[in-house]
């Protein structure tokens, strides 16, 4: 500890928006001419902030602006922020996939980055060949891979199929093998982007455990980007919060997460459903998802009145065993509850083509103050999940009202929910 291994100074990254077409040629000539004359780039506009809700006329956007931070050796640094905050851009620059526009990064160790599992995997090659391919891409040499080969295969649990082409693997096996290779990298600095969002829960736990082990017992530095606050909490010593391409704060994990959640001003950043934002499935198209209370569409809700989540969707062709699923999570991505729209049916519901509306109603006096995530997803029983992958997530913010208004508990002491218990008090004796 106490030894700086990454030092980022004044880092900025600019992207060009919109289509790159024949205009670029004339622009290139202008740029080149400016450079020859020693003038600054005429197209670099300084000061345009990366705010996707406002569509500016600027054709360039700063994905990162004046980012400064240090990482100490052996530290596990979590990076959180909304979509578009610049997390992935930062990781890409650190991984040398793209270059910074301004600023300097000094690195005091060998970096391996994991922006995706299974990079370079080829379906026609066997598991064994892919381990060597993927290992080489991630920066291992032949000797290192050979030394760790058995360990990798055992970690993935695919010993029996190691000489079978990976196209015959189930998606679970594929992901396990891919992560196993990555998990056995021995860099000084490991950069991980959200890759834990794959695989089943048990394997995710194994991966988290492995990452913890890597940092604790091997003294490696880990940079970890995730939306999963539970994973961040269990893994990271420190967390950096990013917003609109800048660093909001770098702090102890709990303090930083609290800062992050508080910084999200939910009345301003309304996350309304926008159908164009999602991939459309062959079977189902979501037309609208509206969250309302007392017939008003809101994003901030009182906890003493029912909250109605209405999903309007079109079934494109007759489908057997369809299932719409309502998932409630807390701000840390902990699962609170998952409900089918047809709990009474064992194997889903058969639906004819047409437009439907399903409403899930959250009863009053159940949610506590804070942020919840509502996730709507759908699938076909025993066949597949429907697009968009991972469903559609909308955030709601609950404020205390009614009998809970007096804030007798701090939110963290209240628990995940308030149970609308019937409380019976009786006077018995004198």
């Amino acid at each position: 500890m106490g030894n700086t291994i990454i030092e980022v100074t004044n880092l900025s990254k600019q992207y060009q928006l919109g289509q790159i077409n024949s205009q670029t040629l004339s622009r290139d000539v202008n740029r080149w001419w400016a450079r020859v004359q020693g003038k600054p780039d005429p197209y670099a506009r300084i000061g345009a902030i990366n705010d996707r809700t406002k569509k500016g006329n600027d054709e360039f956007v700063w994905a990162l602006q004046n980012v400064n931070f240090n990482v100490q050796q052996g530290e596990v640094l979590g990076i959180i922020g909304r979509n578009g905050a610049g997390k992935s851009t930062l990781l890409k620059i650190l991984s040398k996939v793209t270059k910074p526009t301004t600023g300097t990064i000094k690195i005091g160790g060998r970096i391996a980055s994991l922006l995706e599992v299974g990079t370079g995997f080829h379906p026609e090659m066997t598991g064994r060949e892919n381990v060597f391919m993927n290992g080489a891409i991630l920066g291992m040499n032949k000797f290192e891979i050979e030394r760790k080969f058995d360990e990798i295969v055992a970690f993935a649990g695919v010993e029996k199929y190691i000489d079978t082409p990976v196209k015959r693997y189930s998606s679970g096996m594929y992901v396990r093998l891919a992560f196993a290779v990555a998990a056995h990298l021995e860099p000084d600095i490991l950069i991980v982007d959200e890759v834990l969002a794959v695989g089943d829960a048990e394997f995710q736990k194994k991966c988290l455990g492995r990452m913890k082990d890597v940092s604790l017992n091997h003294g490696r530095t880990v940079l970890f980007v995730s939306h999963n606050m539970a994973a961040i909490k269990s893994l990271c010593d420190k967390v950096m919060v990013m917003e609109k391409g800048t660093v909001l704060t770098v702090n102890e994990t709990q303090a930083a997460i609290t800062h992050y959640l508080n910084s999200q001003n939910f009345t301003q950043n309304t996350q309304l459903f926008n159908r164009n934002q999602y991939e459309v499935d062959a079977v189902i198209a979501y037309n609208n998802i509206e969250i309302s209370q007392q017939d008003r569409a809101l994003t901030e809700f009182a906890n003493d009145a029912p909250i109605r989540v209405s999903v309007q969707y079109t079934i494109k062709e007759k489908v057997l065993g369809f299932r719409l699923i309502f998932i409630l999570q807390d701000a840390y991505d902990n699962l609170i509850s998952q409900t089918f729209f047809d709990e009474e049916n064992d194997i889903g519901t058969n639906l004819d083509a047409g437009t439907y509306e399903t409403s899930f109603v959250i009863p009053p006096n159940l949610l506590i103050e804070g942020i919840y995530k509502i996730n709507i997803t759908s699938g076909i029983h025993n066949v597949r999940m429907c697009l968009p992958k991972g469903g559609i997530t909308l955030d709601i913010f609950i404020i205390e009202s009614g009998i809970y208004k007096r804030k007798r508990f701090k939110p963290e002491n209240r628990g995940l929910l308030t149970l609308p218990l019937a409380v019976i008090n009786q006077y018995q004796h004198a």
Partner: protein
């Protein structure tokens, strides 16, 4: 590794990432350190193409053979383009195995960025490794086609020993291959770098290479009197021409050979290869932002 002026005294930075790096900062030593990755790309290339095909690498035989027969029928029988005393099939095979090496290399190198966009977006390694792996995997292909050519050569040599005169210039083969590879990869890298910005070029490449074949003595020889002198002078300036002529001269005893022209060709190769590497290396750093 990179020396920088503002390094704090107590630190040993392995690497410093900065916006602008010199044009000549080509990571050649890193490419050498990661040669194992290069081999894996060659392997992957073969697996991708020939696993689950029944004939597998036999396709390398079939393709030039069928093309030679087609050339024989069209250019020789119908078009009446002479191949001199050399048996037609042998003549075409010689030209084709050489030409294919160049053509395959340039075609595949020119789509490097497009084909590997996803990979390049996820992980860093010196991008030069990919064009080099293409050169290697095509060298294997060439090896197989060359083997076929040698079999056919031996057969004709045994049948008509006086017509074909293989000679000591065969020793130049590795050098000729290097020239071919250099041209293919150099031009390919220039084109692939330009296509990241100017997509139109993609369409130009494949048919451009085809046209180039007709401007290169593949199906004809500059040594034969059927080519008008004025054309010959012009065609001779095509830097690829001396390579093909030398190759046929060495193995078949028919062709124009001149050290001066080989040197001319080599100069072109060095220039194209250098420009190619420099442009490729420059574009590679900005590529992910423009694709």
């Amino acid at each position: 590794m990179h020396s920088s002026t503002n390094i704090p005294n107590n630190h040993q930075w392995l690497e410093v990432l900065q916006p602008h790096q010199s044009l000549f900062d080509v990571p050649l030593s890193e490419v050498w350190r990661k040669r194992y990755l290069m081999l894996m790309f060659v392997k992957r290339d073969f697996a991708a193409n020939y696993k689950q095909t029944i004939l597998g690498p036999l396709w390398f035989f079939i393709q030039p053979l069928l093309t030679s027969i087609t050339f024989f029928l069209i250019f020789n029988k119908v078009g009446g383009i002479s191949t001199g005393k050399v048996p037609q099939i042998l003549f075409y095979l010689a030209g084709l195995s050489c030409w294919n090496y160049f053509a395959e290399t340039i075609n595949r190198t020119s789509t490097v960025f497009k084909d590997n966009a996803n990979l390049f977006g996820k992980v860093y390694f010196p991008r030069l490794i990919i064009p080099l792996s293409i050169v290697l995997s095509n060298l294997l292909r060439f090896g197989i086609q060359f083997f076929l050519f040698l079999i056919v050569l031996l057969y004709y040599w045994w049948q008509q020993p006086l017509v074909i005169q293989p000679n000591a210039y065969m020793l130049l083969t590795p050098y000729l291959l290097m020239l071919m590879a250099g041209f293919g990869i150099g031009l390919g890298m220039i084109i692939s770098s330009l296509t990241t910005k100017y997509r139109d070029l993609v369409f130009l490449v494949s048919f451009g290479v085809q046209l180039l074949m007709y401007a290169t003595p593949v199906i004809y020889s500059l040594s034969l009197p059927t080519i008008p002198t004025s054309y010959r002078t012009v065609l001779w300036y095509n830097p690829l021409a001396p390579i093909l002529e030398t190759f046929r001269f060495a193995y078949l005893g028919q062709g124009m050979f001149s050290w001066a022209m080989l040197l001319y060709s080599s100069c072109w190769m060095v220039v194209l290869l250098t420009v190619g590497i420099l442009i490729f290396n420059k574009v590679e750093k900005r590529f992910m932002d423009t694709i």
